[in-house]
């Protein structure tokens, strides 16, 4: 595309089918303890 650079085209929708294994890290254990930081977690179930 000439006008658009896509950083990610990941469609969240597709994760509805396979998602939810629950093996990923609990967000508050990582560092925060006072905020909720989910978007920075990495999926452990490689898609």
């Amino acid at each position: 595309m000439k006008h658009v650079k896509t950083l990610t085209n990941k469609t969240l929708k597709s994760t509805m089918e396979k998602g939810g294994c629950g093996e990923c890290q609990t967000s508050c254990q990582s560092a925060c303890k006072t905020s909720c930081t989910v978007g920075n977690q990495t999926c452990e179930n490689k898609r």
Binding site: M1, K2, H3, V4, K5, T6, L7, T8, N9, K10, T11, L12, K13, T15, M16, K18, G19, G20, G22, E23, C24, Q25, T26, S27, C28, Q29, S30, A31, C32, K33, T34, S35, C36, T37, V38, G39, N40, Q41, T42, C43, E44, N45, K46, R47
Partner: protein, 458 residues
Amino acid sequence: MIHQYKNNGYNIVMDVCSGAVHVVDDITYDVIAVYEENNEDNIETNLELLQNKLPSYSKEELEETLAEVEELKANGELFAEDVYKEFVMDFKKRKTVVKALCLHIAHDCNLGCRYCFAEEGEYHGDRSMMSLEVGKQALDFLVANSGNRKNLEVDFFGGEPTMNFEVVKELVRYGRSLEEPYNKNFRFTLTTNGILLNDEIMEFANQEMANVVLSIDGRKSVNDYMRPARNGKSTYDIIVPKFQKFAELRNQTNYYVRGTFTHHNLDFSEDVLHLADLGFQQISVEPVVAPSDEPYAIQEADLPQLMEEYDKLAKEMVKREKEGNGFNFFHFMIDLSQGPCVAKRLSGCGSGTEYLAVTPWGDLYPCHQFVGQEQFKLGTVYDGIQAEDIRDEFKLCNVYAKDKCRNCFARFYCSGGCAANSYNFHGSILDAYDIGCELQKKRIECAIMIKAALADQE
């Protein structure tokens, strides 16, 4: 739904419901804004609309841009529908398992931090240490309630957990002995203020702890004002050399130096950079959460300055990254390609369901922030979850159950925010802590800008 913003010379368009993120030129930025408000199935009509609304661009330019926008839309990468409201209904019926515990190894602390939500370790109760017996029972409870989850997380928290480190070591040994028979993998973590840190603890932690969180607020004056020793003396000089050594021993990975900024250091980007200049590569400095009548509490009037600080920090991080001396800032981390699934994004932090806190005497609470608030006691490590109504309240808590979150662009990144903050400010876990939301949204914007700037380099 889309969210578009300009930051550091980049025009960024987030497509909220697909998770797609685009960097666009000026004309596309303007076209998308108009298109969101007015669009028809007919491309000719859309072009006419654009010509009326954006007369400064030529018809040809608009036509070309519109074609790209339509293509993104057709691919489900722009203006994607929100299909999760229905999904969340099924999701509410899910069976939850416990996969993470925050063990309050010591309700006592050797510091007297002014902002401590744990009241210098006491959590509205008496000073107390977790016994080995209670700790083992907690690990047994975790294994028994974790279903088929393999990865289990246990954070040694406090107060100050190194004040009861023998129990920590024994519990790690005990946990390891449970791994093979039950097909589990424990990930232990330790949160410490560093005062008692020594070679033995570092060596043990480097063998056994998947992550360590090292508390320091930044510049010496800032740290020592909010984190004084019990005798009022400086803690900075004691902890900095130990933390530097610890970070190096861990190869500058799997740790965080973790600070809190307050109303007293609104120029917190200086503290982040100070930590980076001390050689730390994994840094987290986060806003204090405190009742607004506390002198150190972040006030709404502080927000403009804090927004500028985040922008300043983000720009400096891009610069340092390009120069080859970058560092990681926890609140700017965002995983655009391999991030969490929708189920995770809807379930949020998991407090009260997947994640529980355990007091030194074995009571279970939805998380460390609720410890000591009796009305949230869920049960004990001996009897398991007794207050199923409270657990279910947390289970049903998701972005679509919250008025403030339902249509927020950040909902799949923050997942509805911290339940404890919501409760403490509004008396309900279904609300949201407003100052926290504003800062969170800004951090997401900065985090994506950083990705855009680094992608620009490639």
